[in-house]
C-alpha cells in the first residue's frame, strides 16, 4: 500500500520515485501545485475505488496524511 502510494505520487508529480518518502510534505515538492493535487486525488479515487470527502482532500498534504486517510477509507470499505 505505502509503495503504491509512493509510485502514484512520483508518477503524478512527475518526479523520481526516490524523491518521495514517508516524510514528504507538499511544500517540499515544487511540482505539487493545486492542479497536481487534483490529479493526485483523482488518481487515488480511481486506484482505490473510493470517493474522498472534500475535507479529507484538503488535509492530504503530506505522505503521512495521505496514507492515514486512504487507509481509513479502505478500512471503512472492508467493514
Amino acid at each position: 500500500m505505502k509503495d503504491r502510494i509512493i509510485e502514484i505520487m512520483a508518477e503524478v508529480l512527475k518526479i523520481d520515485i526516490c524523491g518521495i518518502n514517508e516524510t514528504t510534505v507538499q511544500t517540499d515538492v515544487l511540482n505539487w501545485d493545486s492542479l497536481a493535487h487534483l490529479n493526485l486525488m483523482l488518481k487515488f479515487e480511481d486506484e482505490f475505488n473510493i470517493s474522498l470527502e472534500p475535507e479529507d482532500i484538503g488535509r492530504m498534504t503530506s505522505f503521512k496524511m495521505i496514507y492515514e486517510i486512504l487507509q481509513s477509507y479502505i478500512d471503512k470499505e472492508a467493514n
Binding site: S34, L35, L38, N39, L42, D46, S51, E53, P54, I57
Partner: protein, 536 residues
C-alpha cells in the same frame, strides 16, 4: 497535439500536458496570436453555477468572447458546441436560455462553414453517450471547477482525437461487403429473388435501412467492394433487379463474387484498387469467414457482426463513425469510387498487352503542370496529410502552412494527371524552398498512389528539375525520410539523377547540379504547362 485552450472551467485533465490554458473566461488575443502551437481550442462550457438569470448573463458573455475570438484570431480555431447539462429553475414557457445556447452554437456552425480556419466539433456527440447524472461530479466541480466528470477524461481525450483525425481525414478507404445475410436476409442460391429479405416488413426493412446508411458512405467517398461466395450471375441478378436494392452496380468499385477464399479475394481487391490492406474494413455475417480473414490478413479490420437483423443499422453507423469519419468532403473524395473503378478497368486493360511500354503509350497519359493557385490550397494540404507511400519526406501541412509558403514565395508545383480512362485531378505535388541565391531544396515531393508506377513520377521529377533549371537554379538539394510506408521511394532520387551526399538508416540527403543534369524523356507521358503565375 499542442493546443491553446480557451476555457471557463478546469479542463486541464482533458488535454495533454503540452497544452496551454487561458485564465477562466479570459480571452487574450495578443497572447493567442503570438503563441506557437497547433490550434486554439475554444471550450466554453454551459454555465454550471448560479440561477437561471445568472446563466443567461454567462452565456451572453460567452457569445461575446466567441465572436471576439473568431474575428481576431489568426490561428486555426477548434470550436466545441455548448450543451445544457444541469437544471435551473424557471418558468417552463421561458426559452431565453435555450435560445442563447442555440445562438452560441449557430455562430460555431456558421463560422466553421464560412471560414477555413475554423473547425467545429459537436460536443453533444460526446455527451450523448452518457446519462445526465454521470456528466458532472459536483464534489470535484465545487472543489476544483471541473467542468466534466473526471471519470470521463480518458473517453473525452479519445473522442477529441477521433474528431481531429476525422478532420485530418485519417480514415480507412474501402468497405468490403458480403452479400447473403449481410446486405439482405437469406441466401440467393437457396431462396432466390423472391425469397430473400430486403425491404418491406421486418427483417427486410432492417437490411434496406443498413444499405441506405452504407450508401451515404459511398456518397462521402468510401469505396465499396463486394466479396461473396455465390454464383456471380445470381448475385448480380439481385443487385441489378431487386426493387429494394439501394446499392447498385455503379456504386461498387470492384466485385469478387466467386467461390475463392475470401482472404485471397480481399488481397486481390486491395491489389487491384492499389490500396493497402490496412485501408480495408470487411463486413461479413459468417464468423468463420471473418476468422479466416482476421488470421490471414491481420491488417484488415473485421468488426463482429450483430446476430439480430434489427441491430444492423446501428452496427453499421458504429463502423462508419469509427473507421470512416470525415470532417468535410472534397471533390476528390466524391469522385473516388469512379476513379477506383477506372483503375480496375485499367488493370484488365493491362492484361491484354504483353509489351508494358506499348501499354503505357496506349494509356494516353497527360500531365498538366502548374504553380499552386489559392483554390488548390485545400487539396494541397489534403495531399500532404494523406499521402503515405509515394511521399519522400512525409511532412504534413495545414492549409495555413501552405498559404504561408505561397506568401513566402516558396515554389509549389502541382501535377494534374489524366489518361484514357479518366481524370485523376491534382495528384502530384512538389514544394521547393530557397536555400540561397542559386540553390533550392525540395521540401516535399509526393504523388497519389493512384497514378504512380506508370512513368508519371519520373516525368514529374524531370519537369521539376527542368523548371528549376530554367529559373536559373544550379543546385538542388533533396531528402528521403524513411517511414514504415514509403520504402517504395527509397531509391527514387538516385534513379533520377540525384547524388547521395549523406545517409543513415533513417534518411538520405541528395544534391543535383542542373548544368550536368542530362536526361531524355521516354515519350510515354505527354506534358503541358499551365503558365499562369502563383497566387499571392
Amino acid at each position: 497535439m499542442k493546443y491553446y485552450v480557451l476555457r471557463n472551467y478546469t479542463v486541464e485533465n482533458l488535454f495533454d500536458d503540452s497544452c496551454s490554458f487561458s485564465i477562466y473566461n479570459a480571452l487574450n488575443i495578443e497572447k493567442i496570436n503570438k503563441w506557437d502551437g497547433e490550434a486554439v481550442v475554444c471550450f466554453l462550457m454551459y454555465p454550471l453555477t448560479g440561477n437561471y438569470n445568472d446563466k443567461i448573463s454567462a452565456v451572453e458573455a460567452n457569445i461575446e468572447t466567441l465572436k471576439m475570438l473568431i474575428d481576431n484570431c489568426t490561428k486555426r480555431i477548434i470550436l466545441l458546441t455548448m450543451h445544457p447539462i444541469s437544471k435551473s429553475y424557471h418558468p417552463t414557457s421561458d426559452f431565453k436560455l435555450s435560445k442563447l445556447v442555440n445562438e452560441y452554437n449557430e455562430i460555431c456552425w456558421n463560422s466553421s462553414s464560412t471560414n477555413n480556419n475554423v473547425i467545429c466539433f459537436d460536443y453533444s456527440s460526446f455527451l450523448r453517450q452518457y446519462p445526465d447524472c454521470l456528466l458532472i461530479d459536483w464534489k470535484h466541480f465545487y472543489l476544483s471547477q471541473l467542468g466534466l466528470n473526471p471519470k470521463l477524461a480518458g473517453d473525452f481525450k479519445d473522442w477529441f482525437s477521433a474528431q481531429y483525425n476525422s478532420f485530418l481525414s485519417v480514415r480507412k478507404k474501402c468497405l468490403v461487403l458480403d452479400l447473403d445475410n449481410t446486405l439482405w436476409g437469406g441466401v440467393v442460391g437457396e431462396d432466390g429473388m423472391e425469397g430473400i429479405k430486403l425491404g418491406g416488413s421486418y427483417p427486410g426493412n432492417a437490411y434496406e435501412d443498413m444499405q441506405r446508411r452504407i450508401y451515404a458512405a459511398y456518397e462521402n467517398g468510401v469505396i465499396l467492394s463486394l466479396c461473396s461466395k455465390n454464383n456471380e450471375i445470381d448475385a448480380l441478378q439481385i443487385i441489378e433487379n431487386h426493387p429494394n436494392m439501394v446499392l447498385k452496380n455503379e456504386h461498387i468499385a470492384i466485385n469478387r463474387i466467386n467461390w475463392n477464399n475470401k482472404a485471397e479475394n480481399i488481397q486481390d481487391i486491395a491489389y487491384t484498387l492499389n490500396i493497402g490492406l490496412d485501408s480495408i474494413v470487411f463486413i461479413d455475417d459468417n464468423p468463420s469467414e471473418r476468422e479466416i480473414v482476421k488470421s490471414l490478413l491481420p491488417d484488415v479490420v473485421v468488426p463482429d457482426f450483430p446476430d439480430k437483423p434489427y441491430l444492423l443499422p446501428s452496427f453499421i453507423e458504429e463502423v462508419l463513425s469509427k473507421y470512416f469519419s470525415i470532417y468535410a468532403v472534397t471533390k476528390e473524395d466524391i469522385n473516388k469510387t469512379l476513379q477506383y473503378r477506372q483503375n480496375a478497368e485499367r488493370e484488365e486493360f493491362k492484361n491484354r498487352f504483353t509489351d508494358y511500354h506499348q501499354y503505357l503509350k496506349e494509356l494516353n497519359m497527360l500531365v498538366e503542370m502548374s504553380l499552386a493557385k489559392s483554390f488548390d490550397i485545400p487539396r494541397i494540404s489534403q495531399l500532404t496529410q494523406k499521402t503515405n507511400q509515394f511521399n519522400l519526406t512525409t511532412r504534413r501541412y495545414s492549409e495555413d502552412d501552405i498559404r504561408n509558403m505561397i506568401n513566402n514565395k516558396d515554389i509549389i508545383l502541382c501535377a494534374r494527371v489524366k489518361d484514357k480512362f479518366g481524370d485523376y485531378g491534382l495528384t502530384g505535388l512538389c514544394i521547393v524552398k530557397h536555400n540561397g541565391v542559386d540553390s533550392v531544396d525540395i521540401d516535399t515531393l509526393l504523388m497519389s498512389c493512384r497514378v504512380i508506377g506508370r512513368e508519371v513520377e519520373n516525368e514529374f521529377i524531370r519537369q521539376i528539375i527542368q523548371y528549376l533549371s530554367k529559373l536559373g537554379y544550379q543546385h538542388i538539394t533533396s531528402s528521403y525520410f524513411k517511414t514504415n510506408k514509403n520504402s517504395l521511394v527509397e531509391s527514387f532520387y538516385e534513379n533520377n539523377g540525384f547524388y547521395v551526399i549523406e545517409q543513415n538508416v533513417n534518411y538520405k540527403n541528395y544534391e543535383l547540379f542542373t548544368n550536368v543534369y542530362n536526361t531524355v524523356s521516354n515519350n510515354i507521358v505527354e506534358v503541358i504547362w499551365n503558365n499562369e503565375r502563383q497566387d499571392n
